[in-house]
Amino acid sequence: MIEFDEKERRMVLKLVYYGPALSGKTTNLLQLHDLLTRQGRGELMVLDTSGDRTIYFDLLPFFLTAPSGLKIKVKVYTVPGQVCHDATRKAVLQRADGVVFVADSNRAEAGSNVTSFDNLERNLSLVGLDIDSIPLVIQFNKRDLPAAVPEEEIRTTWDPTGIPVVLASALNGVGVSETFAVLAGLVYDRIDARFALAATHGLTRERFIAQLTSLKEEP
């Protein structure tokens, strides 16, 4: 958690989209930005310096208010996937409240997925977070690719770990808000246990998720 100010009744949470370079993290944020209602979210800030590779990170902030008046700001970040930006990844991971790991379904990228996941595991422990208890969702992106690894194979690998897996095609807006909703639910459970969101602030799980993921009405 970035900040909890009881007097100001303000809470700032941090969620991180992690994964190998070019797996579609920025695309996820771009789609969230476009799919979700304007009310309750800020503008997307893309801190890139060249081409399509995120050199630093992207940020998309969300806002919601609990019935008690507690203001919650959720800052969603992506990390740079390139191996050389490990220090940046750690700085972004620090005090994260939840992580989406965006894996690339392309079979050729299987190795990068593994390397990046190992890197996530190590960096979490380096910044003092526990991979077994931090809210974590795996998104297998680019399902639209013909060379995508079959779903069965993914299930065999990941189901035993208990980590929820969402299939997506971020480029086409498929599975993007679903991924975000699954993570939001896990994050809610964790924060609720510590800060009694429901009991003290009247904020239920459903309401938390709904406020973060309310889709735009079709015009």
Binding site: I2, E3, V12, K14, R41, G42, E43, M45, L47, Y56, F57, L59, P61, F63, K73, K75, Y77, D86, A87, T88, K90, A91, V92, Q94, R95, L126, V127, G128
Partner: protein, 428 residues
């Protein structure tokens, strides 16, 4: 433990006051006045005015209030006032102004984030290798081979970092010396300029003296009556304006000689400061080194900064001669950079029987206690990225270390930074 080595968390909340400078906002607000508004101000979320610009004629009517967003949250409001008749023109002006403010704020946030990331990356990449190595050594049995490799890499990397750092320190020393050289060049050029122009004038005067002598030589041969010779000589004398020339020539010579002396004094100071003629350690009086540094900086200081000296007699110390000058030069230049429009620099020295204590205090904004641990680090700078390598104080740190002393920063009385150097002395 690695969590402690990262000093910066991405995502920490920033305040609008930390991100926008007066220099960013005020010109925009003034621009609005120039475009016809009678008052433009930015207020914080508690309604308090953060920045404002108003025409002397008074505020007029509130035309528009627009929120200024930071990461999507309203953190301030723009209020634009003017004559009601101008509303049609002023409303678009307000929209334009908020777009401008928004752009400045967004860029500033990006810049801050990028800089902070940079800093944490520089700080952590070395520590990261060390930490990784430590971790691996723990599970030695499994990773012995890898650990050995890593140790090698850490060593290589450490050596590489040292080399870069040494190189940057050297560059900074050169930069300080470069600035100094520019100042000194000016100091020398000045007297040299008038010496040259005096010589030109003297050349013309000498030609006239020669003409006069020539006149006598020729006329003496003619064996004219004496009265006639005297009268003609007098006319020639006046024609050549010799009364004026004679009066001026003494001044010109005296001035030129004084100029030449000034040049040789500056050169002597420079030699003294750089200790070029000495090899190995020399015996120096730190007060004298301070004075020399001031003399060399006199061009940068004259008319711009007030220097207060409170120097007490000091014992001499033995050291590499150029170190004290390096320390004083960097600290005084640092004070000049940070002390604002009318710098006052107070130099004091004293000796307590064991240690020499020298303090260089300025009347600038001072150094927040949170930054005091970092200012002597290589790369640290409070100036905008790109305007300095941030190595000046690191040079000081390194030089003080070579004198077996310490340097610390405290609050100067009445604000400002006070750099205190303590050097052991008195044990011969």
């Amino acid at each position: 433990m690695s969590a402690d080595t990262l000093h910066f968390v991405v995502g920490e909340e920033k305040k609008v006051r930390e991100l926008l400078l007066d220099a960013d906002v005020i010109p925009l607000l003034k621009g609005a006045l120039a475009a016809g508004a009678s008052c433009a101000r930015v207020t914080g979320d508690d309604g308090e005015e953060l920045w404002g610009a108003c025409a002397p004629a008074g505020r007029g009517e509130l035309i528009r209030t627009l929120p200024l967003l930071l990461e999507g949250e309203p953190v301030a409001h723009l209020e634009l006032f003017g004559a009601p008749e101008g509303r049609e023109r002023l409303e678009p002006l307000a929209s334009l102004l908020i777009v401008a403010l928004d752009t400045v704020l967004r860029n500033s946030l990006k810049r801050v984030l990028t800089t902070e990331i940079h800093t944490s990356v520089v700080n952590s990449s070395h520590e990261e290798l060390v930490a990784m190595n430590a971790e691996l050594t723990k599970s030695e049995a499994r990773y012995r081979e890898l650990a050995e490799n890593l140790e090698l890499r850490v060593k290589e990397r450490t050596a590489e970092l040292r080399r870069t750092q040494a190189h940057l320190l050297q560059q900074e020393r050169m930069a300080a010396v470069g600035q100094l050289a520019a100042g000194v060049a000016h100091e020398i050029n000045n007297p040299l300029g008038f010496i040259t122009s005096n010589l030109h004038t003297l050349q013309k005067y000498v030609a006239r003296f020669c003409a006069m002598l020539q006149f006598y030589r020729e006329h003496l041969e003619l064996e004219q009556p004496r009265e006639r010779l005297v009268a003609e000589a007098e006319t020639k004398w006046r024609e050549l304006k010799l009364p004026h020339v004679m009066a001026d020539v003494g001044d010109l010579m005296a001035q030129s000689l004084a100029g030449a002396e000034r040049v040789s004094r500056i050169v002597a100071d420079l030699k003294g400061f750089s200790h070029v003629d000495e090899s190995g350690d020399s015996v120096v009086d730190l007060n004298q080194e301070l004075e020399r540094t001031l003399t060399l900086l006199s061009h940068q200081l004259a008319g711009r900064a007030e220097i207060v000296k409170e120097l007490q007699p000091l014992p001499e110390i033995k050291c590499q001669g150029q170190l004290p000058g390096q320390i004083f030069l960097n600290l005084i230049q640092n004070a000049l950079t940070h002390a604002g429009a009318s710098p006052r620099i107070t130099l004091s020295s004293c000796f307590d029987g064991e240690r020499i204590r020298i303090s260089i205090a300025d009347n600038g904004p001072g150094i927040p206690s949170a930054l005091r641990g970092q200012i002597f680090d290589p790369f640290f700078t409070t100036l905008p990225v790109g305007s300095g390598t941030g190595m000046g104080l690191a040079v000081v740190w390194e030089a003080v270390l070579k004198l077996q002393g310490t340097v610390a920063v405290a609050d100067a009385p009445g604000g400002g930074a006070d750099f205190i150097i303590t050097i052991p002395a008195g044990r011969n």
